[in-house]
Homo-oligomer: 210 residues x 2
DNA sequence: AAGAATACTGAGCAAGTGCTCAGCACGCGA
DNA sequence: TCGCGTGCTGAGCACTTGCTCAGTATTCTT
C-alpha cells in the first residue's frame, strides 16, 4: 500500500506564494538555488511547508513550470484574438525574463525526465498554436502555404529572438540593434506584402527552379 | 597573507582526465551533477584530487569551459582557412552536443558571475571571428556591407541552429526538416548569388525605399 | 644513494540537502 | 461542546556537499 502523505489544498494562498518564490529564485539565482529551505525563506515561511504542499522538489518544479506555461499559452491565445499579426508573434519571443526562465527549465530538464517531458509537451502545444496563427495570417491574405512553409517563418523568428534574449542575459548585445531594425522593417514589409497577396519570405531557392 | 594551497601541474594527465569527466557529466546529467565526488568517480580517481588540481569547483567549471571555448575557436578558424563559406558557418552551429553544453553553461553562469563573464568574453570573441568571416565572404564577392548587415545573417543563422538543437534535445523536432531544407537551399542560392555580386539576404524592407 | 619536489590518500569537519513524523492551534459542522 | 480536518511547526534522520590537513608513496635531480 502506498503511504498517502497528507498534502495541502491546491488552491491555497501559501502554496501559490511558494510557487512565486520558486520562480523568483530560479530567475535570480538559477535552478540549483531552488531548495526547500531557500524557497521557504524567499516566501517568508517555514521549510516544512514546502513538503506539506508538494510531494517532492520535482513536483515543485513541475508545478512552477506548468503554471507559467499555462499562463503563457493563454496570454498568447488572447493576444492573437486581439491582434493576429507577425509583429505580435515576434514581440512575444522578446520577453527576457521568460526566455531566461526557459533556459533554466531546459537545463533542469536535461537531467530530470519528468520535467523534460512536461517542457516538450507544452513546447509542442505552443508550436502548434503559433503555427496555426501564422498559417491563418498567410491564408487571410491568400498566400498558399507551400510557397513558403509557415514553420520556416516561425522557427526563424523564434530562433532570432531566443539568441538575442540569451545573449542579452549574458551582457553581449553587439549587433542586436541592427537585427531588431531589420526584423521590424521586414515585418512592416511583410504585412504590406501580405495585404497584396505576396508571401512574406521570398522563396528564392524554390523559385530559382522555375 | 593568502594561504597558498599546493596545486597540481596544469599539464597533468590526471587533470585533463578530470576535465573530461566534468564535461561528460555535465553533458549527460547537467551541471548540478558535477560535484567533486561524482567527477572523481567518473574519472576513476579519488575525490580529493579534484581539489588538488582545482582551487574550487568554480575553477573546475571555468577551466572546463575555457578548454572547450579555446578548442572551438581554433576549430572554427581552421575551418574558415580550409573552406570559408556560409555553409561551413551554418554547419558549425548544428553540433548538438556543443549546443547542449552551451545551454548548460549559460544556465550555470546565470548565478555564477565568474562563469558568466568568461562565457560573455568568449561569446564576444567568437562573434567577432564569425562576423569577420561573413564580411570577408561578402567583400570577396563585391557585396557592400551596408546593403545587408553581415550581423543580421549571422544572428539569423545562429538563432535558427540554436532553437533547432535545443528542441532536438527536448525531443521536439516538428518542422525541423523543412527548416533545414530551406536553409540549405537558401545557402546554395546565396552562394550562387554571391558569385554574381548579389547580397545573400534579399533586403526587401530597405530595397522597398528605392 | 640522498634529498627535494610532486602525486596522491585516509580521515574528517561544518554546512546544507530532501524528507519524515508526532503533535499543536484553531475554525467549523454536528 | 465535542470531534475533526486543515494549516502549520520543532526536532531530527540519513545523506551529500566543498574543502582541509597531515602524512605517505612516487618520481626526479643531483
Amino acid at each position: 500500500m502506498t503511504t498517502t502523505r497528507r498534502l495541502g489544498a491546491s488552491d491555497s494562498k501559501t502554496r501559490s506564494l511558494l510557487l512565486d518564490a520558486a520562480e523568483q529564485l530560479m530567475l535570480r539565482e538559477g535552478y540549483a538555488a531552488v531548495t526547500s529551505r531557500r524557497v521557504a525563506a524567499e516566501a517568508g515561511i517555514k521549510p516544512q511547508l514546502v513538503h506539506y504542499y508538494f510531494r517532492s522538489m520535482d513536483d515543485l518544479f513541475l508545478e512552477t513550470y506548468r503554471r507559467r506555461a499555462e499562463a503563457g499559452l493563454e496570454r498568447f491565445a488572447r493576444a492573437m484574438d486581439v491582434h493576429r499579426s507577425l509583429r505580435t508573434i515576434w514581440r512575444f519571443g522578446t520577453d527576457i525574463g521568460g526566455a531566461t526562465l526557459n533556459i533554466e527549465f531546459v537545463a533542469l530538464g536535461n537531467h530530470r525526465k519528468a520535467i523534460r517531458d512536461e517542457i516538450a509537451r507544452s513546447a509542442q502545444r505552443f508550436r502548434e498554436l503559433q503555427l496555426e496563427a501564422i498559417a491563418a495570417i498567410l491564408h487571410e491574405h491568400g498566400v498558399s502555404a507551400d510557397v513558403c512553409p509557415p514553420v520556416v517563418i516561425l522557427l526563424a523568428m523564434t530562433g532570432v529572438s531566443q539568441v538575442m534574449t540569451l545573449e542579452t542575459a549574458l551582457g553581449v548585445t553587439s549587433g542586436h540593434a541592427e537585427m531588431n531594425d531589420f526584423v521590424e522593417a521586414w515585418i512592416d514589409e511583410a504585412d504590406r506584402d501580405l495585404a497584396r497577396g505576396i508571401p512574406p519570405v521570398p522563396p528564392r531557392p524554390r523559385a530559382a527552379q522555375g
